[in-house]
């Protein structure tokens, strides 16, 4: 394995503590521009999800996958991808495990 640092998909607002996707340029809650490192929680609750059957060209080798909106605290949500057990395994409010996937994306696993 190489020594390359894996970037967390998540960071935290320095001002209000909101968890944000790594690419966020300003805080969704308070508008601040300063962030600190953070690791995603290891679980969350399904807020909504969809099974993508017409992916953008080449994404996930054109196989269906779930995009899961995971609530990690009241009103605070993250996106995760689920590529295993895609069919009919989720319901809103289900608890899902969250992991860093090989692609650097947050991955949801049915518990």
């Amino acid at each position: 394995m190489n020594e390359q640092t894996v970037t967390s998909p998540i960071k935290k607002c320095q001002q209000c503590g909101r968890m944000l996707p790594q690419a966020a340029l300003s805080c969704f809650s308070c508008g601040a521009y300063e962030f600190e490192a953070a690791e995603p929680p290891d679980s969350g609750k399904v807020y909504s999800y969809t099974t993508i059957r017409v992916p953008p060209e080449g994404f996930n080798d054109n196989q269906p996958y779930n995009v899961v909106v995971v609530e990690i605290a009241e009103g605070m949500r993250l996106l995760a991808i689920q590529t295993e057990d895609v069919e009919g395994s989720l319901e809103i409010n289900d608890s899902v495990g969250l992991e860093m996937g090989a692609t650097g994306l947050l991955t949801a696993k049915k518990r």
């Binding site: 690419a23 969704f28 807020y47 999800y49 993508i52 059957r53 953008p56 995009v67 809103i92």
Partner: protein, 418 residues
């Protein structure tokens, strides 16, 4: 303090009095805005125009609008062109200049507006504002998009680019996917049923079948929608608008001038334009779009009317569930009542509040950069009593255009001025 009068003691005013003065001064400026009317409209048929170029489509719409207005084209002082992605889809930039040139408008300023699927709503808004402010007298607004020459995969990727590529799309979220998430949440929060959602598609296919410019001409059943293949569960194929090419244009001028030039001018009495959320992670709720709420508030306020005053609506049904959410966000129905309203026929052409009599994006088609003006095109025909699916004696029409994943919205309210 009298509106507009600069008080002699302006230097002695305290902060509060200065604010009051400024407020009154600005209010006077608003009152000074000129009324604006639409005097001519033109459109291409909505279809897959694979054999034609996008500039050919925008030219056809523009020529028809100028002819309909019966105005000498040398009178046109500016052009605004709504287009989302001609560079990515057909490799053509500079479309505003190309369209102005082909129309023979001379060396007037031609500006392209982009707000994803709301690009043409913005073109109309800018045309309206520049005339209202007294900058120009006659402006042509155009909207155009060509999509059918690309594969579905390329179109899906290009459209996904209207969402946030760095936060949402990296997870493989597509536009149907975004509305699949919204649909599942609307069902959970309000008990909206699969059949109710399918009724949007059934109604809009029914309307489009008799609209000569609509792309889809086939009727569909609730079962047909329910059982069509999933695109982004729970969203099915017939929940989605089709990939379509088309262009629409209209000529606008001050209402005083319009009454002399035109037998049946249609006045733009309200205009709103606002941004909302640009990533799905910024949304507080999945069942409302703040961009729509704000744009609608602006338009209703300017027009001095309420949702219950509206007689006919063309709104942004890029997906069936969007029509339900939009109808609620526009204040036409209470939250959660949009589904039952369409199911019970209240939004049919002969219902109490007809929505998308043209067939909407779902049946007329959705060339994204043209749609905002296609909606207004239908309303102009409705108000003039010349629509294919004519609503009974409408006085006020509302057009709602939504771009991106709730990133931007425009709302326009139109009134007969004859």
């Amino acid at each position: 303090m009298k509106n507009g009068a600069i008080p002699d003691n302006i230097n002695q005013l305290n902060a509060e009095e200065r604010i009051e003065f400024l407020f009154n001064f600005l209010a006077l400026e608003v009152l000074d805005m000129r009324d604006v009317s639409i005097i001519g409209v033109g459109t291409t048929p909505f279809s897959k125009h694979k054999e034609r170029g996008i500039a050919d489509l925008s030219l056809e719409a523009g020529r028809k609008a100028i002819e309909d207005a019966g105005i000498d084209k040398s009178k046109i002082e500016a052009l605004y062109l709504g287009n989302y992605a001609a560079e990515a889809l057909v490799g053509q930039g500079s479309l505003a200049a190309i369209t102005g040139r082909n129309l023979g408008l001379g060396q007037i300023p031609c500006t392209r507006t982009e707000g994803a699927c709301a690009s043409a709503g913005i073109a109309l808004r800018e045309s309206f504002l520049t005339i209202a402010a007294g900058i120009y007298d006659v402006v042509i607004a155009v909207g155009a998009e060509q999509m059918s020459t690309c594969s579905t995969g390329v179109v899906t990727s290009v459209l996904a680019g209207a969402g946030d590529t760095t936060m949402d799309n990296i997870y493989g979220l597509t536009f149907p996917g975004f509305f699949g998430l919204v649909l599942r949440k609307h069902m959970e929060e309000f008990g909206t049923t699969r059949d109710q959602v399918s009724c949007v598609s059934v109604k809009n296919h029914h309307n489009g079948a008799t609209n000569p410019i609509a792309y889809l001409k086939d009727e569909i059943t609730v079962e047909g929608v329910n059982e069509s293949r999933f695109i982004a569960d729970p969203l099915t194929l017939y929940d989605c608008c089709p990939i379509t090419d088309g262009a629409v244009a209209m000529v606008l001028c001050p209402s005083d001038m319009a009454r002399d030039l035109c037998k049946k001018p249609v006045k733009v009495v309200g205009s709103g334009h606002a941004i909302g959320t640009t990533s799905i992670l910024q949304m507080e709720s999945f069942t409302t779009f703040p961009a729509t709420l704000k744009a609608a508030e602006m338009a209703y306020q300017m027009a001095g009317v309420k949702p219950e005053d509206i007689d006919v609506v063309e709104l942004h049904d890029c997906f069936t569930i969007a029509e339900i959410v939009d109808s609620e966000d526009l204040g036409l129905f209470e939250k959660g009542e949009g589904g039952p309203a369409v199911e019970s026929g209240r939004t049919a052409v002969d219902g109490e509040l007809p929505i998308n009599p043209s067939g909407g994006l779902i049946s007329r088609g959705h060339p994204v950069g043209a749609t905002g003006l296609a909606q207004v095109y239908e309303l102009v025909l409705q108000l003039k009593g010349e629509a294919a699916n004519q609503v009974k004696n409408p006085e006020l029409g509302l057009a709602h255009n939504l771009g991106g994943s709730g990133a931007v919205s425009t709302v326009h309210i139109l009134s007969k001025d004859f």
